[in-house]
Every structure is written in structure tokens, then in C-alpha cells.
Amino acid sequence: MPKSEGKKVKRDSLLAGLAEYAPGKAFDEMAEGRGKVRGLYEGLRDSLQLVDPPRLAQGRASLEASFLRRGITFTVYNDPTGTERIFPFDPLPRLIPQQDWVRIEKGLIQRVTALNLFLKDIYGDQKILLEGILPPAVVHSAKHLRREVAGLKVPLDVYIHICGTDLIRGDSGEYMVLEDNGRCPSGVSYVLENRRALKQAFPEWFRGHAVQPVESYGADLLETLRQISPRQETNPVIVLLTPGPMNSAYFEHSFLARSTGIELVQGCDLFIEGQKVFMRTTRGPQQVDVIYRRIDDDFLDPLAFRRDSVLGVPGLLRAVRAGQVTLANAIGTGVADDKALYAYVPKLIRFYLGEEAILPNVPTYLASEEKDLKYILQNLAKLVVKPTNESGGYGLLIGPHASRKEIEEFRGRIRKDPRNYIAQPVIALSTHPTLCGNKVEPRHVDLRPFILTGKTTRVLPGGLTRVALRKGSLVVNSSQGGGSKDTWVLDS
């Protein structure tokens, strides 16, 4: 067979693949049905059809090489060879129209505003408990409640400066909040790197689309951190506190330090003297005003929290309490992203803002409530069960995909410690066309927008679209076979 003919066959099959793209039962971002592309995606589909298979292969190879060359990798734990892997990147971008985005943005700002008011209240007057809106047990049994900061005022009354809220879309395409990440949400570096990489590999796809830029994130983050400095009269010294190069998100830490120009420090670089925080430099000690910390509360200060922590700074809590340094996020925000509290967030919004939630929750059953517990135990095979204090997609039970043995195991666990579990109906996350080998197939996606709060609240247009690369899988976490996509918010 002559070579050119072989090429033609291949090309036809890709075209056919696109034309026959058939979404499953879940809401699909691109197609309403087999071959029926929504108006939003028509431009992109046309560009895709113009891509020669060799060009596509070459573009993908150069994408991968560029991630590797730039060291955009995460360390694989428990691997003695110290292997580093790239976070898989799917080149087909996810599109969000302006009108959807406006609503999402409003909803996110509303939600994070309410959570900040809640934290101020919980570490202050606790009106929400006194007025009986929220059962005190939900707060008092939360693993990440920090009694050490009760009564402490924080600059601008902001606790969650950096938030990453996970959104999913239900069967009819409605956006819902899956969880709030108010501790150390990660992934924003991929938003920026994915955009940069895609622009280089497939610049032609951007033509004809007015894609909202994401580059301003570094500047916005810096501005947010400057606003919370306890010494407003001087130029604040801001640092990013990382656990260190062995942490899986170390790339992101150094990326953010570079894009804001702040110093990347480890616990051993800092010390406390006279309730002030200093860093050790070649020109002597230098006082630090703001710490964007990417380590958990537990590790922050061995004198206050975990005693064996070698990542933190002894005495840091005292400096925080003395108002000499601001932490972003503040200590104790974990109580706001507890999965049992999650169920009450719409109530919090009503209580603090007098508004209805713009972005709904996923229906949630609390095992700690007797009625819900009964329902959960009767319907385990239909539900997703989540531990309230875990993250990263660990410790989940996905009922319809679980064996009888697993279900019985969870039944025991839930009975033993009901406070630690919630259950939700299985929501088939929306799907998005994804390049699988040489074919374009639907894969499940979610969306994590990033929200910055200082004097004002700003949302980075788009966010990180995570995609479950395994067919049929609903787990998008990077640690469990997830990849990511560039996310385009389109100006209409």
C-alpha cells in the first residue's frame, strides 16, 4: 500500500471518530447526542478536524517533552528510584461560556464569603450555634477545629485567602459544589502551565476563540498576601512555606514563588524571636510578615500541634497570636471544609448573607443523623460514602462499583464511627471529549476554580479541569489516574 494512502485511512478514521463521537448517559460538555455538537464547541470541532494525525502526534509529544523539560512533575511516593512523573495532560480544552461563568463566579464568591463569616463566628461569638442553626456537635467533633485560635482576630476577618472549590455537573448539566478546599488547595500551577503549553503546541486552536487569560494569578495572589500583612506601613516580607522538595506539590510551590517573586522557605529557614518571625539570610535575620503556608496545621508548630513535626517553626502559633505574622490560610480553616459541615453550607449562606445558595450542593446524608444513617445503611450499594476528614479521593466507597465484601466492610466502619462518614447519591460527573490513543472518547471531568480573598474576592477565570482518564472512572484525583485539561472561559 502506498504511504499516502495509509495516511489517508488514518485521517479518515480520526474524522470519523469525531463525527461519531457518542456520549454516554452522563451530561456531555461537547455533544448533545451522537454527532450532535453544541454550538459552543463547533469552532473547536472544526479546528480538530483540520489536524493531521501526524501533527496531532507531534503536538502531543512536544507537550509531554515540554512538561518533562520544565520539570513540571510530581514525585511518586514509595518509589525508591525517586521517579518523577508528569501529571497527564489532555490537549482537548474544556470550554465554558461567559453566561455560565458569570453565575459560577457569583456562586463561588457567595460561598467563600459565607465560609469566612462562619470561621469568624466559630472562632468568635458562635452565634450560629447559639441560634440553633447548626448542631454544635458538627463543629465540636470536627477533626480540624483548632481550639488554640479561639478568640483570635485575623486581618480583614479573612481566614480562607486561597480556596479551591470542586464543582461537578449533574445529569442536566447544572453545576454543583462537590467540596470546598479551604486548607491548602493545590493545582493552580497546572492551570497556568497547561495554558502556556497548549498555546505552544496547538496555537491554531485559539484562533476564533476569545479565551479569558489566566496569567494574572501570580500578581493577584501577591496583592492578596500584601493586603493581610500586619505591618501595612512598610513593604511586607512575604514567604511561601513549603514542606520541602520531597513533597508531591513542590513544583507548584516553587512555581508560585517564582510567579509572585516571594521567597520559598522551609521550616528550618525560619525562627521566632520576641514573638516575631525571622528568616536566616546571608545578611543576617530578616523579619517576615506574611506566610503563605503549604503545610497543614498539624505540622506548623511542634510546640502547639504535632510534637514530632520537623517541617514547622517552633513558637509560630505564639507569633500568630501576638499578631506579628499572618498565615494564609489561617489556622483552623479545616473546620469549614469538613464534609459533615458541607451539608450545612446552604444554611450558612442563608444565615450570614440572607441569600439562597447560587450553586447547589450535592444531596448529602450525614451518618451522624439517625434518620440519614438508616437510609445510608439500607442503600449502600447506590451511594458514594466518604470519610469526612480525608482528601485526595482516599477511603471512598463507590457503592455501584463495590464488591459485597467492601460494602459490608464499610457498613461496619460507618456503624462504629458515624460522625466520620457522609453519603451522597452517585452523580455521573459530566463527560468531555478526551484523546484516548488515536480516538476521541468521552471521559468524566470536574472543575476546580481558584478563589482569592483579601480586601475583595477574585476568581481565576476557569480553573483546573481534572479528567478521569480510565474509561468509566469517576475518580479524577491525580494520585489515582487522573489527568488535566486546559479550561477556557470564552468571552461572548
Partner: protein, 328 residues
Amino acid sequence: MLSRVADGLFWISRYIERAENLARIADVYLQAELDRAAGRKVDWSAILQASGASESFATCGLPVNASTVTSFLTISEENPNSIFACLNRARENARMIRDQITTEMWEELNRAWLELSGSAGKSLRRKGPSEYYRELRRASHLFRGTTASTLPQGDARDFLDLGMYLERADATSRILEAQSLQKDQGDVEERWAALLRSCSARETYRAHHHVPLEATGVLGYLIHDVKFPRSLHYGLVRVGEIASRLAKPEDQVEVEALVLAIRARLTKAPVAEGTGQALAGFLDVWQAELHRLADWMTERIIGGKLELPEVSAWHSQQEQQQQVAERC
């Protein structure tokens, strides 16, 4: 600048320079080994000794020959100072202080690491050691050039340069020492040519010396020349300049005195006697002096020896770094 960052920059530079010079030594003696016709026999144990690797090599129980020694210096896991190990540590340091160097510098170093160490390195070595060592020198030069053209003047540049010149002053002396310790000194002209070549000095030396190669001229060039960038004198003078720039005002007098004392001793190098035990002994003293100078600078300029945690604490540190959950 953070003391930890200064230390990281200093060591990135030292490890790159160390890897480059190991490649120089290994390459030049592999070439010499091919010149059997000249009746010359390479003494590989002398090369181990000059590279400070005799002891760790001895524990491996391998015979001493071209292939065992070069692979020990290049890839061996038993050798904490192999080229691979140096590349790994340079890159590990660079990753740690990634935010302090330019993207171009990082990419150059990361590329070298991807291509020249680990499994990628294996495929390259299949092309032959000479090609591998050439690539390695090139990687080092690319990193230096990228640094010079992208990183602004300032402390970061100074700490990188300090590490480079200090390591080079040490490494060139080890190249000379490897030559001095050779039992079979072989054909004289060829020996001096190889020595110059291993320091990339053959052409520049020729341009200024139109007489046959001989000891005083060649050794004088590699030790005393004030313009040749790999000479001992040149390295020491640059180290002195940078150290005075970085030192605190109260340490100025001391740093200048330290460097001057080493310079004074350098003038007494026994170059007229050619290579041999006298020169080797002198170079040992020189290396010890540089070592003391480096210790002083770590203490006074970088900001104190960074206290390395005990092994057990180091492990728990690694574990904890991994435990910190990042919600992605």
C-alpha cells in the same frame, strides 16, 4: 538571600564543575590508553587517587583497569562522587531552589540530567564514552553560558561563581595530580599535550608559546597564568574577589588575608621539576588549603554550616514532607 539558598547555589555550581572535570580526566586517559603505540601505560590507580576515590573504589573489590575505573568515576552507585551522583545532586539542589534561578538555567540543567544520568544516560553511553564526556562538558558550558546571559549580577550570580571557581581551582589541581602520579611518564611531548588538552588549554597555550612543549611552560601555564580561566591562580583570584564582595564588612580583612596567604604559597609551586611526587605533594597541600577556605566561607559568608539532621530525623523529615496532604 536565605542561607539555605546561598548554600544551594554554591553546591549546584560545585557539582556541575566536579562532573565536568571528572569527564575531562576520564576522557583524556581513555584517549591515552589508545596510544599504546607510544609505549605508554596508563596508571589508573593514580587517577583514582587524584580524584580522591581510592578508598571507595577499594571497597568494591574490582580490578583496576580502564573500564572499571572510568565506570566507577562515571556511573557507579558505590561512588558518592561519580558523575551521575554529581548530576543528581546538582539537579536536586536546583530543584530545591528552583525559584532562585532562571527558567532557562533550570531547563538546561534539567535537560542535562534527563539526558546524561539514569536510563537516558545509558543510551548515550552506548554511543561511546568519548561522545558522552563531550556531551557532559557541553552541558556544563551551556549551563554557564545560560547563567551568564540570563541571571542578573548580584548575590545569586556570586554564589554560583564562587562555587564554580573554587571547585575548578581544586579540580585542575587534581588533573595535574593525576599526571604527576603516573609511574610511566611516557613520551614527554605527548604527555604535555594530553595534559593541556584535558584542560582545554592546548590551543590557547600554543598561541602564546611557540617552543616545544616542556614542563616549566605547561605547568606554569596551568598553575600561574593570570588570564587562562582554568589555571589555579585564576581560580583563586576570582574566589578572592567574589568572597570580598559577599563578606560582611567585619570579615573583609580576614578574607583577604586568607586568600593572600594561599596565593603566596602558590608562587612556590615546584614547576621546574616537572610532574612527579614533589608536585603531587604540593597539590595535596593546595587542596587542603582550598578546603579550609571553603569551610571558612560556609561559616562566614553563607551563614553557618546548615545543621544536617541526624539520619533518623532526616528520614522523618522526608516522610513528613510526603505526608502533608495537598488537595489535588
